[in-house]
Structures are given as structure tokens and as C-alpha cells.
Symmetry: C2
Subunit: 281 residues, 2 copies
């Protein structure tokens, strides 16, 4: 496994590997089993696996969140190596955003402006779209792997990749969960034992909604009420419990075709998100 | 020479040509000798020459200008063929902007917000940056050719190509001029004989400013006054006579290093632009 810090070195490392397929797995480091799932999917499919580590300042709306974001490069590199990663691209901020940088890739409409876009501000998804565009163009991979946990991020990335015609196939891997059901996240390490126990109400609420749909409830107001009750019982007042079209993020009143239910909530001071698709094929 | 209408067909046509170098020459059609100059430069350098024809609605701030923009595809294809173009990519608007399209590539700062950006509105350079990104990613050329006449467009393209890391070398060709000095433009066909005679005051003013710098005048206010006098004598009140850094478009008070002097003016109802670099290496 080699570690490169510049786009030029990344491209040089990939030049002789273009005969086979190339996978890109973008991360912000602080790797956990969820990332390992993405790396394994890439390793099974592609000849060369490239993992990126970059904590992107442009997508953090809170300086405190950026400052608190865990940075564990040594452990990350060990995990990447053990999962068979070929190339790690871990640039400095100045490599990604040199002086004079002035370009933004921006997606408009509900995909980028509602839910996470509304809670975290417009700059969040602009930051995601800009940096993911840069990573995709730096590596020009055949496949890029993302986790379904960040459902709205996935929708934004699908949108600008299609709109700009970036030549890559996106591979969306199911949300990885701990044995108790909590979606894996680098931010979970910030939860106290009590907060972690209460946070389980989030996957529980998603499961209850899934079961209710299977039992015949289609009205999303009724489903939302049920989720809010479960969350409330754990002392959680969510930022949103949203039912939307998984591609356009237009609100869904009824589960008559696949509907994404997405929850965002603070547990203590830690912001968590989770989601599942209802009525999916 | 083949003509393709979709990105998929363009990529298929280029797949077997990637062993050699590929040139992209983006145009809005209505080809004239200025475009031919770009095509010849590409033909001399690259193994495959791709020309695009696309009148990009997103970059027109005036619907009347878009409607009046000359469309001469048959003649354009004949010229391209005679200049040895290999592939013409001439997509419909729906191929470039399909339903649901929601992505913008945007450059901020003086490069995009002053002069043409101020006169034509922010959407103009957003439209340019978005469509040129799409054309570059569709063809993934080794070289892309643009004319120096659109100096600010060139600066915007340089900026986002560098910022996003689009893997292409830009080749900027000198402004092509008719024998009388008028910069070639598809819009020149709209000028009446009298307007065309008056329009020559624009290149004359640029030449006077160049001569004045050679004779020792460095103060850009003095140079601007001289240009305004020449333009005024021809009945032309320009939108701007600007002296700026050619890369950042920051205003320049003195010509002590290369300074771009750019003029925009309406002659009759036709908007013309022209420029030259002063004190260049």
C-alpha cells in the first residue's frame, strides 16, 4: 500500500493501473467497520482500490464540529492496509484548496436545500459536491463507493455526477450497523454510555415505521407520529423525521412507491442521522 | 468526419482514438475564420480533433440575443470538414440539460463578477463554466482550444479547470482579426456597413493604448481617457474600458506588469468585446 499526498502523485500511481478497473472509496478518516464494508465491496470488484482521507472544511457548518472531528490517520492507514487498499490519497487542505481557489459545484432544489441542506446550511452540500467532484476527477475511477447512511449526500452526488457527466459508476452500500442496530458513524465515539443507549431509539423508530408499512399503514403523517413517540420516549426531539422521494427528495404523503424515511437528531451534543427505504422493490 | 448528437456516441467515437492525443474545440457554431484558426492549431498538434457546436442557453442573459444568435449548422459542418475535423459533437439542448438538471459550476470573485460578469449577470459565467465542464468531461481531451478574444471567459475557464482538477491543457489562441483590424465575431454579421466602420474605433483604441504604453505612459486613467476619446469620436460610449490583471481580473492602476485592457461596447444594437495585453512578456 502506498500513501500519496498530492493529485500529481495519485495520478502517477494510477497511470500504470488503468489497464484494470479502479475503485475510489472517499472517507473523512476515523475509519470504522462501516468504512471497512465499503473497502471490502471495492476489493471484491475492482483491480485497484484507492481510499481517500480528507476532512473537508468546506462541508462543516460548525467550526466546533470540524475541530472535534476525530483524526486517527495512523489507525486508518493500518485498517486500509489490512483491507487490501492499494493507494491512500490523504492530501493536506492546501492541496485541495490552494490559495485563490474560487470554484463551487452546487446542486439546487430539494435534494440539496431541504433536511440536511436546511439544517446545516447551503454551504454543506456545496462543500460535498465540490470536494467529491475534485476527488473523482483526481482519480477518474471506474467505481466510487458511498454508504447509504448519508442518503441525501448520495442523492446530491448522483445528481451532479449525472448532470456534469462525470464518467464513474456509483456503488451505494447498505448502512453498516452495530449488533444493537445503531448506524455506524465516526461521531458515535462521542456518545456517553447513556446517550448511546438512548440513541438506539433512532433505529428502533425506523424499524417500527418499516413494520407499520408492512402491516398496511401508508399515511406518512401517521408513520411520523409513531416515530416521534418512540424518539420522545428516549428523550429525543429530532430535527426532522422526513418522508421523501429517495431520488428527488420531494416530500411523500403516502408510501405507494419507495419512500425514504430519514431522521436527524442530537443525542446530547452529538448529531446523528439514519434512514431506511420503505416500500422498496 | 462524423457528427454525433449524444455524449454516449461521442465517447464511443473517441474510445479507439485514445491511443493518440485528442483536441477539443468548443464553439457555438456560426463559424468564421477565427474558429478556423483554432481548428488549424488543433489539427497541427493533435491526432484527433473534436469540435463541438452548442448554443448554450444558460450563458445568454438576453433572450433576444439567444434567439438572434446565428445558427448555420450546414455551413459549419462544411467548414469543419474542410479544416480536417474528425468528430463534431452537436447535441440538442435536451441532451445537455435533461429534465431535472440541477447542477451549476460557479467561479466567485472578480474573475467572474466584474466586467462581463457585471454587465451580463452572474448567470453568464455560471452558464459558461457549467457547459464547458460538461464538454470537457464528455470528451476528456488532452488539449482544449479557446480564443483570446473572450479574455474573461478564458480566465474563468482557467480558474475552474485548475480548481476542479479537470485533466486538460488549455491552449489559448490569439484573437483573429479581419484585415481592417476588427476582431472576428459571429455577431459581426449583424453590423450595418456604417456600424462596422464605426466599430473599428475599438481596435484602434486598443492600438493607441498599446502605442502609448510603448511610448512610456503607464497610468491606466490616462490610457483610459485616450481610449474613450477615440471611441467617442466614433459615437461609441463603451460599457467599460477596463485595465485588469489578466489572471485575477483585479483592477490595475499602473502598467508595470502585464495588464489586460478590455473594451465592451454596443455599436447600434450589437454588443462587441475586444482586448489586448499591455506590457506583456
Amino acid at each position: 500500500m502506498i500513501v500519496v499526498r498530492t493529485v500529481a502523485d495519485l495520478r502517477a500511481a494510477l497511470r500504470e493501473r488503468r489497464g484494470g478497473s479502479i475503485a475510489l472509496v472517499p472517507t473523512m478518516g476515523a475509519l470504522h467497520e462501516g468504512h471497512a464494508t465499503l473497502l471490502r465491496a471495492a476489493r471484491r470488484t475492482d483491480d485497484t482500490v484507492v481510499m481517500t482521507i480528507f476532512v473537508n472544511p468546506a462541508q462543516f457548518n460548525e467550526k466546533s464540529d470540524l475541530a472535534a472531528y476525530p483524526r486517527t490517520e495512523e489507525a486508518d492507514l493500518a485498517l486500509a492496509d489490512s483491507e487490501g487498499v492499494d493507494v491512500v490519497f490523504a492530501p493536506d487542505v492546501s492541496e485541495v484548496y490552494p490559495e485563490g481557489f474560487a470554484t463551487t459545484v452546487s446542486v439546487s432544489g430539494p435534494i440539496a436545500e431541504t433536511l440536511e441542506g436546511a439544517e446545516r446550511g447551503r454551504a454543506h452540500f456545496d462543500g460535498v459536491a465540490t470536494v467529491v467532484t475534485k476527488l473523482l476527477l483526481a482519480a477518474l475511477p471506474d467505481h466510487a463507493y458511498f454508504g447509504a447512511k448519508d442518503a441525501q449526500q448520495v442523492a446530491v452526488i448522483r445528481r451532479f455526477v449525472a448532470d456534469l457527466g462525470i464518467p464513474v459508476d456509483l456503488v451505494i452500500c447498505p448502512t453498516s450497523r452495530d449488533a444493537d442496530g445503531l448506524a455506524r458513524s465516526s461521531r458515535n465515539t462521542r456518545l456517553s454510555p447513556d446517550e448511546r443507549a438512548r440513541a438506539l431509539a433512532i433505529p428502533h423508530a425506523l424499524q417500527e415505521v418499516t413494520d407499520a408499512v408492512a402491516a398496511g399503514t401508508a399515511d406518512t403523517d401517521a408513520l411520523r407520529s409513531r416515530a416521534l413517540k418512540t424518539l420522545g420516549a428516549a428523550g429525543i426531539r429530532p430535527e426532522y423525521v422526513a418522508f421523501v422521494d429517495p431520488i428527488t427528495f420531494a416530500p411523500a404523503a403516502v408510501v405507494d412507491e419507495p419512500v425514504l424515511v430519514a431522521i436527524a437528531a442530537r443525542v446530547g451534543s452529538t448529531r446523528l442521522i439514519d434512514n431506511t427505504v420503505l416500500g422498496g422493490a
